[in-house]
Point group: D2
Chain length 374, copies 4
């Protein structure tokens, strides 16, 4: 692989940006979203691979890549890509990411970074001289940045409690199935690894705080066709404390009828409280003793760190793809040597693997309290 | 005391209802609410007592009673009351309730029933041949009954998780103070005993389920003037499991800026989910895989057990006093020998004292899991 | 009739308030609501009449009156009432109110004050030395008073537009019927007279402005059993201008599926806008260029003129009956010689009859613009 | 200009789609949005022009075009574009569109299609053998299509009333100014032409109905620097009737503090009502006598004509750019010979110019009723 034309991270460039050459591994739902965002960020999607050599061309077509490759090795060896986007089932993330880093590529690796703590630790260590990011994309909603800026400014006073949930219903019926259900592909944790990890990242990102101890319960509600032994959890619920002394709860479920992708968090401080709902990302509720405000994504009033992610005037809704695009654009900016704030890296990916690990180990011990490695 | 003209509970009466004679102990905020509800239920508020003999007349005026009495003993001994409403600070509930029962009166005793488990147990045992209720009045919102009826009918499928919170902000500042802060008056638990108890009762009431094990954390955020050693908690957060296998979380706080009296619960089932917000009690959200419904308090569509509490047509909001009135009316109906469903009795009062006790003992053990006595 | 023990309006009294003796004419839905509010205001409901002499006793029972009377004449002649509450079908309001005033009683007359402009004018003229009110009770929601206070203080800047609606669905099916459908009982205007009148009163009350010119359209959607020729309208829609130069619209319908009693108004000013929804009366939305606020009915933050109507702490919902009670209490306070602000009198009742008359006459002229008599 | 390689509309093609060559006239806010959507639809933005020859290169950079041209004539004469996107101030739309059509190009022309009725009529006539569309992009929100499908299926029963508003606040202060304020650039109608036109198109699109008669009022609230004589309106309000007999109201304002881009419509039928808010485009409220539903943009439950515009799973918000992209993609599909349903054409552009014309002429006649030419 030849990634010779790129500067190292941190090195500033004055000339016109070189068009990045992107390879996409895994051409499913996320593969398409990544490829689209890559193009919108000005990159060229040159290569794609599927799960089987005979589907190489189909994968290329699915994500709009110039060429399909029979496998990751071929893609890394001959496509001359600058960045590899890993959009495959979870268990494959670690080996593909390791190979991509070894080949000198920058890497965008889907969450969870790895299905095991050891691999995640290894990847975070290996990622040091390349840009290596994980799409915790909710960080890129302008109102999330606004929340982060306000908390950083101390607006909330003492953050006493946080009430969280991430609820979905696409697995609410026993007949619902997916590769995520199979621990061999999805990893030992399903609901928490898949979506709880997003919540944990978002909470720690907006508060700048760390979950330090937790007690967790998990449950399996349905037997499913591809379920292994032991089965992966349909839901997880946590009680936790943080480095700053906040006490929090979190309910994560993929069997909650009527909720599609509802990541919700309410941060309750003594001076102000804030509530954010990922399904309604253009608004942020801010409550004070004297009443509540509904803050809008209005460039005229947002903190600069939030206004940075505004693409459209107030009242013209930005959505999920917009925050995804911003994540990829920031990743590429980092590759070009810039240092955008709040980029979720492999270190962040490792962090949520640690939280997931703590959740599983607490749940295995009937909710016993466990420390989360910082 | 002479409560001779009343039938025992369970005994049906055909004649015109006798006008109940009511005594109110404690003429503060709740004393006035109870007295008003008593009058609306057709009773006569004949007696009131205050905290000091010299305020007897003022207490009578405050609640609109015919006469003020220097103390509970005098009221019980000479006022000829059928029912005593106990609306004083928590620590006084148990002795006053015991005395009232001993005097043969029916009793409405504010929550928490007692500040100690032993007293609560004694009261529940003593209450057997009198009507003895505790104002867990949120049970009397029609939409709460609707929720209960739907859960009883199995509409939710498997209730997998529940996400709860009860948030207030009236103690969010260090200068905020109240008798509840003083453990000598309010009891060892403040936030949980005061409002968490309502949530626990409501959850168990609508589901018919029981919290069996829990892990809890509490915290004291502010030092306050009347705070004792050990101080009472500003907040509590719980992870719990139930007899039916539901996993739940609950955050209770009196220092959550921007929330006034927000008791919220979202019950997530595999077939349907339901969310109720005490500050918006005329609506109930019902979510299903195919979308969400906002159920209204419309007599035309409610379950009979909910329609029973409808006083006004749809769109003419019922409020807190309406559910309080319904609670008192049902208590008096029970005194007249009827058996209204869902009346919160001393047994229910004892139950929440047990939950509170478990919360404090888990929190004292750094969140260790404790069993809740059924 | 002997109303000798009462002071004239305006005359202050120092002695204990005399218990008012109340007579209720019409013992249907509103008769019960009025009687309940009268009792809560400390009055005694001594008399009631029904539509037929043989239902006198039943009427008394229905509203909890001491005695039933065969007719209005008997009630006025012998019951010794201080105040008469008129809760009968619309066409009877004027003759009963005139008789009650003639008998020297204070009068609370349901809206519409009369079904004809001449009668309404006569009543307003006749009411001068008695307290004579019309239950435009939405004025008594604390958040309505808050809105009024803020508009009076100029917070909105120039009030440029108002968008209004009052939507119900209880007549949405052709088989739905009611005495209101019959113009002989309900009057020539149905939807507007019945509910549009409430909206018009509320708008003029909160703004202190006057609708001066309007263009209206009405429609009859269903033929119904008791419909007369010409039929009464199922809906009305208006474009109007005001004395202050505001331009507004209003849609009134009783055939709008899914809406129960939704009186909504959004007042859009150049500095601030406000939205109020009668079905969610504990909140008031206030929008400014920099974002929106949700103002809560919190005694700690309300304007004194609004806080006056607070009965319960923030977060303990007040409802329709609470505002009805406040209206009756203020009416009785006026009878006792006080001068509560914002009491809706026969002059206000006449005012909405004028607006209704203008609506019908514009609609009859295919929406031609008509002046509304001030 | 040579647009030789394209098929005529209606003619089906089997071969690979040829990459369309796009020219963008006007490189402001909309120019960028159009160019981005063009690229996402697979086209190449080859040309751009600015308002002045010396800004040609800057315009090209702003929209990412290959080359800047000094003027429209040069662009049409030498750039070899297949499609021209007109994104300039309103008064220039008609001449540029006419020139582009004359040059044989397909045209996407921003609304309003023209500032005069005669020009708009001419353009609609001239557009017959080219694809010529107007970005009434709100049509491309999936929930708008869902609403349209449900109304077409008769779900609402008789649509009796519609309550509409389109409120913004970016011109709420006297110091706010813009080229739209100047009638020479923006046209004689400002608020209505700019945003009322969107509402009118959306209403007629979802209902398939036609506004036939209307009475309108307009007002100028602030004097502004670029205001001409006569000034353009800050607001307009309408009462209207439709071919199907619906009665409706609409308030349009650009001086409504607190509202950013709030296009709202509530369609009230006898069987069901529907409400849509452009600022919350992922939801559609559907009310029925038995209660209300909140329909979500969930591919699993949407009508096929709505599901067609789903790009992301439920709960992953789509936004304004997504609907814009869909509009451009459909325009290009039409250029390739397909016939996507609901494409807003010059005929639709003409239609809203007619409505705007009627609004101005009614307002000039103090709200006199005018017919809208079909
Ligand atoms: N960041 C987010 O918000 C977000 C959202 C959804 C999914 N994800 C993550 O994205 C990843 C993919 O999820 P998805 O929803 O796109 O799943 P998907 O099933 O739609 O796509 C996975 C694709 O990977 C292919 N594949 C499997 N094994 C492969 C291999 N060895 N080499 C190449 N391709 C292979 C499959 O054929 C399939 O096309 C998962 O790790 C998931 O956790 C992240
Ligand atoms: N069920 C509910 O929803 C609800 C709501 C609020 C309060 N409460 C409960 O009601 C009780 C009273 O609370 P409150 O808010 O009315 O408090 P409060 O301070 O307003 O009133 C308490 C009153 O009791 C009087 N008092 C104190 N000691 C007394 C004594 N020995 N004898 C007679 N009177 C005495 C005080 O003078 C005061 O007037 C508490 O136990 C509280 O938990 C219940
Ligand atoms: N202010 C409000 O918010 C509000 C709300 C609802 C109704 N109203 C008004 O209240 C009035 C009554 O409405 P309602 O909903 O109670 O109707 P209803 O039909 O429930 O009650 C009307 C009652 O009047 C009785 N009646 C008829 N003719 C009579 C007569 N000549 N003498 C004595 N009684 C007679 C009927 O038997 C019936 O009991 C109407 O004018 C209506 O506009 C006002
Ligand atoms: N469909 C929608 O939802 C929507 C939304 C916003 C604006 N618009 C329409 O888009 C058009 C542009 O609005 P905008 O907000 O982008 O305005 P803008 O002021 O941001 O951009 C207009 C651009 O046109 C350029 N221009 C002016 N005269 C020109 C000429 N003769 N030739 C070439 N360029 C010229 C200006 O320099 C400017 O860059 C307007 O007609 C407006 O009504 C539509």
């Amino acid at each position: 692989m030849s990634v010779t034309h790129l500067t190292a991270p941190g090195e500033r460039v004055d000339s016109e940006p070189v068009t990045l050459r992107v390879g996409v591994v895994g051409a499913g739902f996320m593969g398409r979203v990544h490829a689209e965002a890559a193009r919108r960020a000005g990159a060229t999607v040159v290569a794609a691979t599927a799960s089987r050599p005979d589907r190489a061309a189909a994968a290329a077509r699915a994500v709009g890549a110039e060429r399909g490759y029979p496998g990751v090795a071929e893609l890394l060896g001959t496509a001359g890509v600058d960045v590899v986007h890993i959009c495959t089932p979870n268990a494959t993330h670690a080996p593909v990411a390791a190979a991509a880093l070894a080949a000198g590529a920058h890497v965008v690796c889907e969450k969870p970074l790895a299905t095991g703590l050891a691999e995640a630790t290894g990847l975070a260590a290996a990622a040091v001289d390349r840009v290596a990011t994980v799409p915790f994309v909710y960080r890129f909603h302008p109102m999330v940045r606004e929340l982060r800026a306000r908390l950083a400014a101390g607006e909330a006073g003492t953050v006493a409690t946080v009430t969280g949930s991430y609820l979905q219903d696409w697995l609410s019926r026993p007949t619902d199935d997916d590769w995520r259900v199979d621990s061999g592909l999805g990893g030992a944790s399903r609901a928490f690894g898949d979506i709880g990890s997003h919540w944990a990242d978002l909470f720690e990102f907006v508060t700048g705080d760390r979950i330090t101890r937790l007690s967790a319960r998990t449950a399996v509600v349905h037997e499913r066709g591809t379920q292994q032994v032991p089965p992966t959890e349909d839901l997880a619920a946590l009680l936790f404390t943080t480095a700053a002394g906040t006490v929090g709860t979190l309910v994560v479920s993929q069997v909650a009828a009527g909720r599609k992708n509802r990541l919700h968090l309410e941060i309750s401080g003594t001076d102000a409280s804030f509530a954010f709902d990922q399904e309604d990302p253009e608004r942020l509720w801010a409550g004070r003793r004297a009443g509540g405000q509904v803050l809008l994504r209005d460039p005229a009033t947002l903190h600069p760190s939030a206004a940075r992610y505004v693409r459209l005037p107030a009242g013209h809704a930005q959505g999920y793809q917009d925050c995804f695009d911003a994540f990829v654009a920031d990743t590429y900016a980092a590759i070009r040597g810039e240092a955008p704030a709040g980029l979720p890296t492999f270190a962040d990916g490792l962090r949520t693997v640690r939280v997931t690990d703590a959740v599983l180990s607490s749940a295995a011990g009937d909710g016993e309290w466990v420390e989360v490695t910082p």
